[in-house]
């Protein structure tokens, strides 16, 4: 079977722009959660978010792209360029149809959409942007990236709430197996605008704490919901032999994936999360004992945390594997979340260090070995990433050293 490796990372996160900034901040345990400055959130019950700071789109993109793109797409285009640079590849120089892109999406270019809805209803139809037809829709990042980098190969856009990033990476691996030379995969997301914010609040899962250090505390006794964030990552995927032939630096292997859907609440049927974890390990041909770290979903809703801890303990044994939720530094990034966790896991493999779950304290009854406060140094060969989305989505991804 074809082996798919990761040879490039483009990261844009509340804690840093680019891989080096992000990873340095992550190992320092820097908290990217802060009061919202992008819009006036003072009137809402929650007003903390993980915002990307210091990103000026005009520094990264040609001017003609600015009027036609949402903030989310601008960040995605920057991350795509960084990923190609990191991989040392220019897809425009490859044979046509050999490079493709799969992104996860959750709410499209929502801030752009809010502005155009306001133009329509406050001013009139003739004030709606000519770019609205494609700046809001869920496929926009895949489309804009394919155009900017002249990628005519297979494309895809998957929406499975916060689990979608894992599905996107797996779908890109499928395209490598079918013969694509190189794929870009992952997700970059943002819906930090007032119209997006009330949708987040409607989920009933956003923390109402106003202390940035106490707001997002997965697996903690005082877990009280999550903090939304923005950003994500894009990964360059290649077939291993081709990557080695060009002397590429290899971060790791996309070794396994599986996804499941939970039954509806009240059905009396159990969560299917454990099956997703076991499925991903089986797909990777990895025994649970071989896994060095689990990057958890970390919903920070007590009931959901219990289900996730139970699934991890059922697969690995209680407290038998270090687990971490670096999302406590960035907030939850929706379609960007898994790809950012994947980047962090690959950097963990590279550097032999597990990033911390800042602010959280593991509730003893959950039986997890949660890496808190400071990074833990140990050799990391295999990482499991767990992702869950509202609506019952479970997805798991196994990454291993090349």
């Amino acid at each position: 079977m074809t082996t798919t490796v990761v040879t490039g990372l483009g990261v844009i996160a509340p804690t840093g722009l680019g891989v080096d900034d992000y990873w340095k901040a992550t190992l320092e345990g820097r908290n990217g959660i802060a009061p919202i400055t992008k819009f006036d959130a003072s009137g809402y019950p929650s007003s903390l978010a993980g915002q990307v700071v210091g990103f000026h789109a005009a520094d990264h993109l040609p001017g003609r792209l600015l009027p036609q793109t949402d903030h989310m797409t601008r960040m995605a285009l920057a991350a795509a360029q960084w990923a190609w640079d990191d991989a040392g590849l220019d897809p425009a120089q490859l044979p046509e149809f050999s490079a493709g892109v799969v992104t996860a999406s959750s709410s499209g270019g929502y801030e752009f959409g809010e502005r155009e809805l306001r133009n329509l209803w406050a001013k009139g139809a003739s004030y709606v942007s000519a770019y609205q037809s494609f700046a809001w829709f869920y496929a926009v990042n895949t489309g804009q990236i394919s155009i900017r980098h002249q990628m005519r190969g297979p494309t895809g856009v998957l929406v499975s709430d916060q689990a979608g990033g894992a599905d996107a990476i797996a779908h890109a691996r499928r395209q490598i197996r079918k013969g694509a030379r190189v794929m870009l995969a992952g997700g970059v997301d943002s819906s930090l605008c007032s119209w997006g914010w009330i949708a987040h609040l409607a989920s009933g899962r956003v923390s109402t704490a106003d202390d940035p250090r106490r707001a997002y505390l997965p697996f903690s006794a005082d877990a009280r919901g999550h903090v939304p964030g923005e950003g994500g990552a894009l990964l360059v995927l290649e077939e291993e032999t081709a990557a080695r032939a060009r002397g590429a630096r290899i971060y790791g292997v996309v070794a396994g994936h599986a996804a499941t859907l939970d039954p509806p609440p009240g059905s009396g049927r159990p969560s299917t999360l454990e099956a997703a974890l076991r499925g991903a390990l089986a797909d990777a041909d990895v025994h649970p004992d071989e896994v060095d770290v689990v990057f958890c979903d970390g919903a920070a809703i007590p009931e959901l945390d219990r289900i996730e801890a139970a699934a991890i303990n059922a697969v690995f044994g209680e407290g038998a594997v270090p687990v971490t939720v670096p999302k406590t530094m960035t907030g939850r990034l929706f379609s960007g979340a898994v790809a950012l966790d994947a980047a962090a896991a690959l950097l963990s493999i590279r550097d032999g260090v597990i990033p911390p779950t800042i602010n959280a304290t593991a509730a003893p009854d959950l039986g997890l070995d949660l890496v808190t406060e400071t990074p833990r140094s140990l050799p990391v060969r295999i990482a499991l990433i767990v992702a869950r989305g509202i609506g019952g989505f479970n997805s798991a991804l196994v990454l291993r050293a090349a």
Partner: protein, 420 residues
Amino acid sequence: MTRRVVITGIGVIAPGGIGTQAFWNLLTEGRTATRPISLFDASVFRSRIAAEVDFHPEEHGLTAQQARTMDRAAQFAVVATREAMADSGLTIDRPDRVSVVVGSAVGASTSLENQYRLSSDDGQLDPVRYDPAVTDLYRHFVPSSFATDVAWEVGAEGPATVVSTGCTSGLDSVGYAADLVREGIVDAVVVGSTDAPLTPITSACFDAIKATSPRNDTPATASRPFDRTRNGFVLGEGCAMFVIEEREHARARGARIYGELAGYATRSNAYHMTGLRADGHEMAEAIRVALHEARVNPDDIDYINAHGSGTKQNDRHETAAFKKALGSHAYRTPVSSIKSMIGHSLGAIGSIEIAACLLAMRDNIVPPTANLTEPDPECDLDYVPITAREHRVDTVLTVGSGFGGFQSAMVLTTADRRLP
């Protein structure tokens, strides 16, 4: 041994009638369902016509709560799923072996716009007002809720997702689902696509780029693919859902098989978010790859279901693509666009067109291109004008083209075909 993927159930909600039979009657009779927009006051818009579905959720078995909390597109998906499941006779006793994949281009845009108006006092409030009593907003915000709705309806617990590649979603969702079966991840998938985009923001954004037809005085004949007088597409809405299965799984339970999902591919033009180059280069490549995956020769294609949106750039683009991919056989193959009758329902239409292809194979009838009375001299293939045609159909090519530059192609065959 290769796992082959077959279709065993169809459910359709299309303009002109609810259910697969009503849909097929409309197409084979060459009637059109395009009309003045009634779902909202469209008087301020340049294009005020659409192909609407007459849909009353509670008449189709949805509860009052489902009617109130689910977006119209999600309601379509659940009702069409019920028809597809009943049609296939599939009972799910291994939930982990069944997936759900739903395509949609614009998700719950109708519900989002309605809620925006309430939360902003019609655009006057910025920031918008938060009302804790509105608890349904998140499900509209992230349309993966459509996959959840369908999965919870049928009791599936395998991988679930929404495929949202704009106007090729209807093909891409089914192509994605076929891979899940082929790779052995699951044995069956409830898959299809839905969109209900008829809402002011949709009209406004297509008006802004003059993509939709302003033929407001003659809506019934406004969608004119391949006709010299066409002047844009006519928006539509609808849904088609299918049950697809691994072929031996379907045979073992004695299921009626409509056909095989034999090949599929998608490629990008890497050119423009809304523009197409006239040469059809990338769509031709998608067709070639889909034929290759299907192990079908170009000469074997009996019918091409065109994207046929009714824009000059599309009609010329895909005509060129067919010639490139099929060579001289393109001139001998009937080509038609059902968008001439039921409009362009964005992400849903690709799945609705797959339904039309399966029924064309079942009945050996090619649906027509309605309203094609003055052929565009630049489009010189056999577009089956006005009336349906009896024609042996064993192998079908269906294509889609959409914003983002996406070009998709799928090959469907009869199920008993021997692979070369």
